[in-house]
């Protein structure tokens, strides 16, 4: 196991004007489970493939352990990669698949056998060792792919959306299995996914990438509570955070933030006022998560708004309510027992801690 460090890693494909990966720096500690997350095409897979050595580095450095590996072939980097398609060798048995890397490295036969048996036991694959991939279910294939990585005992595990080909139920199950595996092996893992739920549930830390740029790195809690910018705020959490453009007004020497129609207003505390003041903006984007909107009027500082109910999605314990407030659309999560009908006008509020304010142009969080 070793740490992995990216220093200003940049990738530009030939014939492409833009950068697929733009100066990404990231420290992955020894034994850490880190998720690279972002929308498809954001560059997260490119970053992973560069770490694996499958893509060349345009500029910057990749360090695994204490070695700069920029110019090393994949086989010399001591990493294992679990592919999205599993990439099992179709003509080999499960045993053949798991032992191939060791055979190539001329590991003695009995050692290979021990390593494969061990991995097969951990992954519950013992009775399938003689089967070909075509005779396995999707979940089993996925475990073989993991097993192929485990037997190599690499410095770092790289995983490229390993769960995306599984059905929803199996995905949840395997998610837990991978997390358990991580604890058991104590291995450094870099895991790429577009699914923020996967990232939130598994990772020690999450690196959010968008358009080739690293937006924020932090623990799931940090990202949820203190998103660095509007993109991260919108990407993490489901349903997505509500964003409303607001206007900053001066009153009585202080300031107030209101929406265009006046259906929403925020009663700022001193810290928030100071921040807006410092940013020197006359407009801000207000962000509030659906789960933080309460069906009651404001008491004290915070947001208050009135909105009419458009759609109600019943989900059992609670309901997702789609609302319109003036020209803005919002989603709120309310207790399913709340008696609501379409067309009702509600008064909702959110506490001061639940409110996010973003710079209208740069999207950077103001608080």
């Amino acid at each position: 196991m070793s740490s992995v460090t990216l220093r200003e890693l940049t990738k530009q494909y030939a014939g492409n004007a833009g950068l697929s990966l733009d100066s990404v720096s990231l420290d992955v500690a020894h034994g850490e489970f880190i998720c690279l997350v972002g929308p498809s095409g954001c560059g997260k897979t490119t970053a992973l493939r560069m770490i694996a050595g499958l893509e060349s580095v345009t500029s910057g450095e990749i360090e695994i352990g204490d070695r700069v590996v920029n110019d090393l072939a994949p086989r010399d980097r001591d990493i294992a990669l679990v592919f999205q398609s599993y990439a099992l060798y179709p003509h080999m048995t499960v045993f053949g698949n798991m032992s191939f890397g060791l055979k190539i490295r001329k590991v003695p036969k009995d050692e290979i056998k021990a390593a494969v048996t061990d991995a097969a036991r951990i992954l519950d694959l013992e009775q399938y060792l003689d089967r070909k991939p075509a005779q396995l279910s999707g979940g089993q294939r996925q475990r073989v792919a993991l097993g192929r990585a485990i037997v190599r005992n690499p410095a770092a595990f790289l995983m490229d959306e390993p769960l995306s080909n599984l059905d929803a139920k199996l995905r949840v199950q395997t998610r837990a299995e991978i997390a358990r595996l991580h604890h058991r092996l104590g291995a450094t893992m870099i895991y790429v996914t577009h699914d923020q739920v996967e990232a939130m549930t598994m990772a020690d830390r999450i690196a959010v990438i968008n358009l080739g740029k690293l937006e924020q790195v932090g623990s799931p809690r940090e990202l949820y509570l203190r998103p660095a910018n509007q993109f991260v705020a919108g990407f993490i959490g489901s349903p997505s955070m509500n964003f409303v453009p607001m206007h900053v007004e001066s009153i009585d020497g202080g300031i107030r933030v209101v929406s265009a129609g006046g259906d929403m207003d925020v009663n700022l505390d001193d810290v928030e006022s100071a921040m807006i003041h410092r940013a020197g903006v006359s407009d801000v984007v207000l962000g509030v998560r659906p789960e933080h909107l309460d069906h009651r009027p404001r008491s004290g500082r915070g947001l208050q708004l009135s909105a009419s109910v458009d759609v109600i999605e019943f989900l059992g314990n609670d309901e997702h309510v789609h609302l319109s407030s003036g020209s803005h659309e919002l989603v709120a999560i309310v207790d399913a027992r709340t008696p609501l009908t379409i067309g009702d006008t509600l008064t909702l509020s959110a506490s001061s801690e639940a409110i996010h304010l973003f710079h209208p142009e740069t999207g950077v969080a103001l608080k």
Partner: protein, 472 residues
Amino acid sequence: MTSITTEEPNVTSPKASRGRGWWRRNWVSLAFLAPGIIWLLAIVVYPTIATIRFSFFDESATKFVGLHNYASVFSTDEILTAFKNNIIWVLVFPFFVTFIGLMVAVLTERIRWATAFKAIIVMPIVFSTTASALVWRTIFDLDPHIGVVNAIEQTVSDWFSAPGAYPLNSSTGETVASLATFNAKGGPGGTLVSSSAVQPGGTVMMGLTRISSVTLQTLGAKTPVAPHEMAAGIAGLVWNDFSTSQPSNTTSIVSDEHGLPNLRLSLVSSKGSSVASTVTDASGDFSFSHVAPGSYHVQILASNFQIAFVGTFWLGSPSLTPVSSLNQTAQSLLSVPLIDLAMIISYIWIWAGFAMVLIGAGLAALNREVLEAAEIDGANEWQTLRRVTIPMLAPVLTVVFVTMVINVLKVFDIILNMAPGSSQGPATTLALTIYNDGFTGGIHSGLASAVAVILFLLVVPAMLWNLKKIKG
């Protein structure tokens, strides 16, 4: 068609209403199928059955002869040769064409000009085998002024042993000794030696003949001049002792004769050792000065007559296997005629593109991630190719291989067009035998039919394999 006929009685059967309904629903569909089925029955299915029937009848197709034709097949040298050649084709061609197709398809993925390269390799498929065979016939031509292969061989061979100024004509079996006419006789190791001995102060004249006028012209030969005696030296002349005006004069110089320039000579002492050497001038004269007293002979070196390059008769039937000591039948069964090799090379040129396209498509359809997984697992390119790529391509490789086996079982055009008349017999194949026996000269339709049936039986395994592939 079978469905149409089996359902027909239904129209008048007790279940007439159901039959009529069936017809009403399906007659358009069956009408769509009818032209194709009728065509196939008339020109493919019926004739195939008829051929099987013919193969049991005599030449007039009236008298049943049982297996007689099949017995003849295996006792006719021509057909046994055809079998042998088909076996050579099947053993050699499919393997090489698949192998080359694979190598080229794999390597093509690494170059920037892949599109152009593929077009170049595929192009020969669209040429008729007739045209291709003719091209390759010139390429393998014996004459190095026509055939590239022999031209290259000549260039290489000339590096190692250049032909002399007066190469013997190998085609007429000419020998060095036969060139001597006056005061010359065959010496050791393909040399010519003056018949008379000579002492210093004396002269030597040697007459040769049968030197081609083209050679003389090229060398700029002049009228010979009789040698002058020189003190303590030996002077002499070598000339082409043949005059068109006085053909019978073989003892003296005539004005329309020519000296032989550029001949390499050496002076041989009575003990047989060479003491001096020289080269004749444009009029054929030479001299050795400062010769010690004694008796000498003048020797014309063998290198002057070094045979010019003899091409490889690629289109001929010399065998690549040592069979000359065997009897006629064994020879025809075991010899591998050179032209088979030439034709197989040409046929590879035609079909490698086909293999490349198929294998290339197979490669493109492979899951790239599997190959990357092998890379991550530590396999180098060769290991990846051998242990991952090729096993994954196995189905495609089999298709290519089987297709090529069927193809060469039927190989015909290239032999008819590439083999010159003298090689047609040794190079013949089953398909060519069917054509020759069935349609040219004395027609043996029974024998030809038997061979056709055998050819058909040989492709049946491939047919079943095909069906299995499509059904499964």
